[in-house]
């Protein structure tokens, strides 16, 4: 039996029908969508399906090979888990957006040509923005708008790259590109924006913590991982990616240490984890690509699990800042346990999922560093080791410690709802299952795996690394050096479009508005002066003449002042004796007559 329905359509169309179901039927229906999708996916044969000629373009709507199949599997799994997680929210917008979004991600990874890929790539943006806006707070609206603008820009860059590429080569095939001409760089950067490269990343840390509780779980799974897939498909072995990945792995951990919003801490650690994948793709050996893909697979699970646990905390307490939390192990023990499993997995503790995939990337970096001309990879390896220690520090310890232990903030809440616990339980189970028995994961990786994660050396060295990171945390905390969480935000490179634009506005405001006001006052001043002048011209002229006359006649002081006053009033009120007016008029006419 074979099947060839588009996995994306099952999710998208299936999602649009959700509002027509009610009550229990709705829950069952929503859970069925990913299950049906998964069964469909298993029965689609490898290779290209749904070929379409569209004008001159040859589109391939569905192309399945070993690289994208892994992503397809994990996307179905996480969609299933997340749907269980959000069953109690009763928010149709979130449901429909979630399915639309995961469908778009499936469409993008299974796209067989660049055009189809681009269409689904854009849908990904639409779906994710809906998930952010579904939170319905003012800050979520603003963050969603910024997210939309950044991704619309990224999409345009990608589209420009694809268009140039097509005019150059006449092909829309999704093949390996080499960086060289404009088109390749444009596509590279377009994908890079979705991949949250350093300086292009703040859309992620800005928007993810603003999304709905379930929305963030969806978001953490798809956008960046689809970008990782696109890089693995189009740019494997591109050296620049190694350095980009190193930056991604290293810098967010510093931010994560001082960040107060725990979902934002997770967003930073998401970038850190994607950094490992990007390094793997940049190295480009079979082991490295396998490691990157395996780590993407695991990351979807453990990062989803961590976001779910923090979401559950937020759902029950209404708080997410470290300063407002603590001591929750008392009232939410299961959530605490699942969070710790996620924390152990992301930290790559032996027997947890991160261990079996992160070590592949590390080993690949180490092995390739012995090749002549690639000595710089030693440095890469050392930074990745630093990042491994650091991720344990901020995601592995900080998240559980500040939320569930540490200072008791006094929240006495109920344990998370059953559906949330089930969702977290499944994710936690998978994290431990893959960590202890990685063979099923290794079997579905793009290249044959000849790798043994559980050697004495690996286990011992990784345990040492992590325990001594924990020692550093413990000592710094006991010594009072560990930075206390503060109610504050930390500016990131989104400052350039969130604040500097305002700065520009303020600057223009300071320069142009006074200039404007000055011009206005000049014009007004001149006009009122002229008006004033002509209104009083008669009296001024008469006064000037009369005063000189009176001075000659010998009037001085008080008498002169009285006469001036009287004349002025007579002119302004028009009460001059007729004779004087007539005389003035006649003398004026005479003057003109003489002059002409």
């Amino acid at each position: 039996m074979t099947s060839n329905y588009l996995p994306a359509l099952i999710f998208m169309l299936g999602g649009f029908l959700i509002p027509f179901f009610k009550g229990r039927a709705k829950s069952v229906y929503m859970l069925l969508i990913p299950v049906v999708g998964f069964i469909n996916l298993i029965y689609i044969p490898m290779g290209e399906h749904h070929l379409m000629a569209f004008g001159d373009f040859n589109l391939v709507l569905l192309n399945i090979d070993r690289l994208n199949l892994v992503f397809g599997y994990i996307y179905h799994i996480i969609a299933f888990i997340t749907v269980i997680y959000i069953l109690n929210f009763k928010n149709d917008v979130e449901y429909v957006a979630g399915f639309f979004y995961s469908g778009a991600a499936l469409g993008a990874v299974f796209a067989g040509d660049l055009f189809t890929f681009f269409i689904f790539w854009e849908m990904l943006t639409v779906g994710s923005v809906m998930l952010i806006w579904a939170r319905k707070t003012k800050s979520a609206q603003a963050a969603g708008m910024r997210y939309l603008l950044v991704h619309a820009f990224g999409g345009l860059v990608l589209l420009a790259g694809i268009v140039f590429h097509y005019t150059e080569t006449g092909s829309l095939e999704m093949t390996v590109m080499t960086l060289g001409n404009w088109s390749s760089y444009l596509m590279f950067f377009g994908i890079g924006i979705n991949c949250a490269w350093p300086l292009l990343h703040p859309w992620l840390t800005d928007a993810y913590p603003e999304a709905t509780i379930g929305g963030t779980v969806f978001l953490s799974a798809f956008t960046t991982k689809t970008a990782v897939y696109a890089l693995a498909r189009l740019y494997p072995g591109t050296e620049q990616l190694i350095w980009i990945g190193v930056g991604m792995a290293a810098f967010p951990i510093f931010y994560a240490v001082i960040e107060n919003d725990l979902r934002r801490v997770l967003a930073y650690s998401l970038i850190n984890q994607v950094g490992f994948m990007v390094v793997g793709i940049g190295i480009g050996t079979e082991l490295a690509i396998n490691g990157a893909v395996a780590h993407a697979f695991n990351d979807v699970l453990f990062k989803g699990l961590l976001f779910m646990s923090m979401g559950a905390v937020m759902y029950r307490t209404g708080k997410i800042n470290a300063t407002d939390l603590g001591g929750l192990y008392k009232s939410m023990p299961w959530t605490c346990l699942f969070c710790c499993v996620g924390a152990a997995s992301i930290s790559a503790f032996p027997l947890f999922s991160g261990f079996v995939s992160k070590s592949m990337v590390m080993s690949a970096a180490a092995q390739s560093s012995h090749i002549a001309g690639q000595g710089a990879l030693v440095f890469v390896w050392l930074v990745l080791l630093f990042a491994s220690a650091g991720v344990f520090h901020h995601a592995g310890i900080k998240i559980p410690f500040f939320a569930f232990f540490g200072h008791d903030a006094g929240h006495r809440v109920k344990e998370a709802p059953m559906n949330m616990l089930i969702a977290m339980g499944i994710a936690a189970f998978l994290c431990i299952f893959i960590g202890t028995y990685p063979k099923p994961l290794y079997d579905i990786l793009p290249f044959p795996v000849d790798y043994q994660p559980y050697t004495i050396s690996h286990v011992l060295t990784q345990t040492q690394l992590l325990f001594f990171s924990a020692l550093a945390f413990t000592l710094l905390l006991m010594g009072g050096i560990y930075p206390a969480e503060q109610r504050a935000i930390n500016v990131d490179s989104d400052w350039f479009y969130r604040k500097s634009a305002r700065g520009l506005y303020a600057m223009l405001d300071d320069v142009l508005n006074p200039l404007n006001a000055w011009c206005e006052s000049m014009v007004r001043g001149l006009a009122s002066f002229v008006a004033d002048f002509f209104r009083n011209a008669g009296s001024k002229l008469a006064l000037f003449l009369s005063v000189n006359l009176w001075l000659l006649q010998g009037y001085r002081g008080k008498h002169l002042a009285i006469k001036k006053e009287r004349l002025n009033n007579d002119i302004l009120q028009g009460t001059l004796p007729i004779g004087i007016g007539a005389a003035a008029a006649i003398s004026f006419i005479l003057l003109i007559f003489i002059l002409t």
């Binding site: 390896w381 650091g390 232990f405 050396s457 990784q462 325990f467 001594f468 050096i481 504050a488 930390n490």
Partner: protein, 90 residues
């Protein structure tokens, strides 16, 4: 009267810390044993770099890395980037 929880009792915290520091010491000792065994070729140890064979390399690296991480975050990054919570709203 609220139920007493595990870490409400300071003895339990102390016990946990004692176990933790114990395992720290144990790890360092295991490292010595492991180095001796691999030097005697009783256990095969595959290393990529020479420094991996030094005693306590990963331990010290992990510890120093985290101390640097925290100090840089606290004393360099935070003063640079910290703003009031309503910074962007103004």
């Amino acid at each position: 009267m609220e139920k007493k929880h595990m870490f409400d009792n300071p003895d339990n915290v102390k016990r946990l810390l004692r176990v933790f520091f114990g395992s720290i010491v144990a790890l360092l000792i295991i490292d010595v044993v492991y180095i001796i065994l691999s030097k005697q070729h009783i256990i095969h140890r595959h290393v990529e770099y020479q420094w991996e064979e030094y005693w306590g390399f990963y331990s010290i690296y992990g510890f120093v890395a985290c101390v640097i991480l925290v100090l840089v975050s606290k004393y360099v990054l935070r003063p640079l980037v910290k703003r009031k919570e309503d910074y962007y709203d103004k």
